[in-house]
């Protein structure tokens, strides 16, 4: 079985209006090569589910997003992604704002095909008031009441890992795997990019079995994309590119966006053509 494909062929499988989950965390190990390819594509009206960073902001500024499901959209050093801030303040997107743990719980419920998972997170906060579709549920076993977090079902998941094999086993060599495995489990189809595709027998050359975070049964396509998380980090292969991140942040100013987009995203390339 060989799941290798190209960035543009993977993006060509996505459709307008899809709900897309994006792995990583803030400015860390985001599948930016895939995100940039979506920005170049004619895709539109996407719902994005993310522990957000420049993935969310860039898609917002490129006009690809209708709705964002989030707990934060942060560049860390810059606490709020300025592109996301602008989209929110100008009203060009709608949002579902969740506690970070509720987002995990929603992905987990989707992965396990459950109607909901119970949690206290959100109780009493305005997350309840502003998400009227959220329901509380009484414990059948005693005197308690919690929020029933519904599944966050994804049409597609996009993740970037350090190493993978051609069959789609994903290896995370950094200290934190974030929620990438959960995104893949919650999605109909998962698209995984990696720094390097290695032979299956070489997967344990650089990391122990604990680093094999993503099982191939959850992965549909794998793309070798060296520096595919740039300008976010991909520890231990590379750190955040601070200068490039600052450039990106400045491009939230409409006066700078076009020039930045032309340099950093480019225009559409034909389907199947490797950049």
């Amino acid at each position: 079985m060989d799941k290798r494909t190209s960035i543009d062929a993977a993006v060509a499988e996505l459709r307008d209006g899809m709900t897309i989950g994006i792995g990583g965390w803030g400015p860390r190990r985001k599948p930016m090569e895939l995100v940039r390819a979506i920005c170049r594509s004619p895709l539109r009206d996407l719902t994005v589910v993310s522990y957000g960073g420049p993935d969310v902001g860039m898609l917002c500024s490129a006009g690809k997003v209708r709705h964002v499901v989030f707990g934060f959209v942060s560049l860390d050093r810059i606490p709020v992604d300025p592109h996301f801030r602008r989209a929110r303040e100008s009203g060009t997107i709608t949002v579902t704002e969740l506690d970070e743990g509720m987002l995990q719980w929603g992905l987990y419920a989707a992965a396990l095909r459950l109607p909901f998972l119970p949690t206290r997170a959100g109780l009493g906060s305005d997350v309840e008031r502003l998400n009227p579709e959220l329901r509380r549920v009484a414990s059948p076993y005693g005197d308690d009441e919690v929020i029933a977090m519904p599944p966050l079902k994804l049409d597609a998941a996009l993740v970037h890992v350090n190493r993978a094999d051609a069959r789609g086993t994903g290896q995370v060599l950094g200290i934190d795997h974030y929620f990438d495995d959960l995104y893949c489990m919650a999605a109909e189809r998962s698209y995984m990019t990696c720094e390097q595709i290695v032979p299956t027998e070489a997967l344990l050359d650089e990391g122990c079995v604990h680093s094999l975070r993503i099982n191939r049964m959850y992965v549909h396509s794998v793309v070798e994309a060296p520096r595919g998380a740039w300008f976010t980090s991909c520890a231990p292969d590379y750190a955040i590119d601070d200068a490039a991140l600052d450039d990106y942040a400045r491009a939230a100013d409409p006066q700078h966006w076009d020039a930045w987009r032309d340099t950093n995203i480019g225009t559409a390339t034909p389907v199947g053509q490797t950049r």
Binding site: V80, T119, A121, G124, V127, E145, I175
Partner: protein, 262 residues
Amino acid sequence: MSEYLWSELCIVACAEAWRGDGEILASGIGVIPRIAAALARLSFSPDLLITDGEALLRADPAPIGVPTASQNGHAPHAVIIEGWIPFSKMFDVLWAGRRHIMMGAAQLDRHGNQNISCIGDWHRPKAQLLGVRGAPGNSVNHPCSYWVPRHTTRVFPERVDMVSGVGTDRAAELPEATRRLHEVRRIVTNLAVLDTGGPAGTLRVVSLHPGVSFDTVQSCTGFPLAQAAPPAETAIPTPEQLRLIREVLDPSGLRHLEGLAP
């Protein structure tokens, strides 16, 4: 008496929030709370667990501001790691109640409802801030404290624009099983230390920083404050605490960048 900076006074006041907490995770969000959590561990709460700001638990609270092992992917040899809490395990820790966090607050109201999400109407905010992050879940699962570097009527309004961390009035309306997990422990500002021990769970001044009057704190607050009778004076740093802050925890002086003053 030792000479101390206002930032150092505030760090010590923040550290006091974790006194007596035992063997739980102490999370400080931002420079001052991070130094404070480490100071609490090094001075009077030695069983606290501290992260490197990311996924690793450090056995040796060390200078903040240097690249963390999590970011590098390799633990520097001088660092002693005693555990691992990746983000996918963090919500287990805090929903199990094994944590006390000190967060910031863009707004904090009379009952300790905190807002870090946005300013204005949530549907189209005047200013998008952080989002609720983990504040809703934190506030109904384990103790929360807050750090406010500039005590003003804007930060302390009658009502916050979006409740992220739950305050005492809203907690009082929750089912008992959740209500008993809720606690707003301390609110430390550049002027005073407060808790929610006022009438019906409202904010109360517990101690005033040296030279600060209750009237000054009240005039910087957008609602009536209660006060402990009489409010104490906030403890000043001991020589040993000053040594730990200056030589061990923040030798590069990140605390100075906060511009803290009464």
